[in-house]
């Protein structure tokens, strides 16, 4: 078939050839644009997820400012109740005041050295300060001392505690009151 014959055939069947050409163009359009909707949907999903995340952030932060204020105030109070490991005199004064308030006798008082944090250990907000105290008292006063330590001005954790009769030399084994030996930590900062 020559070109002229082809042109004659097209001229003879303009509709079918026109529609055929249109079909070829439309198929090309469909083929080359086949990913556009999927891409747009993927982008929409991504944006929807991001939008939902942002909305959730806003929704959940409705009372955050108020809650932040509350914890911030609580932390101010906590700070005022911490001991400072470097302030030895003030720390010991706390126990002497305890002695005075409970009418006991403090026969031993030591502030222990704070252990250096281990390498790789998680960072902490506080550094507990250790103390060792020995008190001469009776059972009721020992209870008073422990109660004041646990519910006192500073945050306290009792590690070891021994309450036993105090037997002095020359008393023939007869107990002379009680001895309270406590190893404790007060929450503090360096």
């Amino acid at each position: 078939m020559t070109t002229q014959e082809l042109i004659a055939l097209i001229k003879k069947n303009p509709i079918s050839f026109g529609c055929g050409a249109l079909c070829v163009i439309l198929i090309a359009v469909l083929y080359f644009g086949s990913d556009t909707v999927d891409d747009a949907k993927a982008q929409l999903d991504k944006l929807s997820t991001e939008g939902a995340r942002l909305s959730a952030n806003i929704e959940y932060s409705a009372r955050l400012a108020e809650q932040y204020k509350t914890v911030s105030t609580a932390n101010t109070i906590i700070d005022s109740r911490l001991v400072r490991a470097s302030q030895l005199a003030q720390n010991l004064q706390y126990f002497y005041k305890l002695e005075s308030d409970t009418s006991t006798k403090l026969t031993g008082l030591t502030q222990m050295q704070s252990a250096l944090p281990k390498k790789g250990a998680p960072t902490t907000n506080f550094t507990p300060v250790g103390f060792s105290i020995v008190v001469d008292c009776d059972y009721a006063k020992a209870l008073d001392v422990l109660h004041r330590l646990e519910d006192g001005e500073h945050y306290c954790r009792i590690l070891d505690c021994n309450l036993s009769p105090k037997v002095s030399e020359g008393t023939g084994g007869v107990a002379q009151g009680m001895g309270l030996a406590v190893t404790l930590e007060l929450e503090g900062q360096p």
């Binding site: 529609c19 932060s61 907000n125 009792i158």
Partner: protein
Amino acid sequence: MASLLKKKADNAGPVVPPWHPDLRIVDLLPDTKVVRTAFFVNGIAILGAVVLALLVVHREWELHVVNGQIADAQKQIDRDKRPSAQAVQLFGKFKQEESRIRELNEFVSSRPNLSPIILRIAETLPAKLALRSLDFGPAGLTLKAIIRGAPDQASGDASAYLDQVKADPELTKYFDEMALNSLSRDPATNRLTVELFLKFKGVKKS
């Protein structure tokens, strides 16, 4: 008659050639069919083009709708971005403050309060027992007491006290295991000394 109805055999005789030559040019002759072939060809071509066009239009419409949704989502993101960032920043500060409270709470609750335990022991101590010593260690409490009375009855009193401690609703809040460590006679006083060990809850046995 029956012979006339019989079909003649194909090889009845030689095929006779047309009696004159066929001079028609078939391509130039008009289509004389009731429905012309061109109608079907055009119809199929138009139908195909229409179907494909509809597919393209449908896809473009779908794309238009999705693009509209993308624009809405982007607008929402632009609107929420700043308040969200502020909320995240505030939450970071909140977490920092909260971690201090959490750490302090862990510190305080890592050991039980001793004063209520001592008070409870004193309140529930039987008249026959006299406390000798209390020793709180990392694992629990060692309680020593002297038992008044004859030694033959004292061992029964020690067991009864252990049962009482095990059944005490207040003490069982702090301790999960109670055991009789020793029961020995003090030669000087001829009295029995009982030693109980009360293990703190959550402490592993050494």
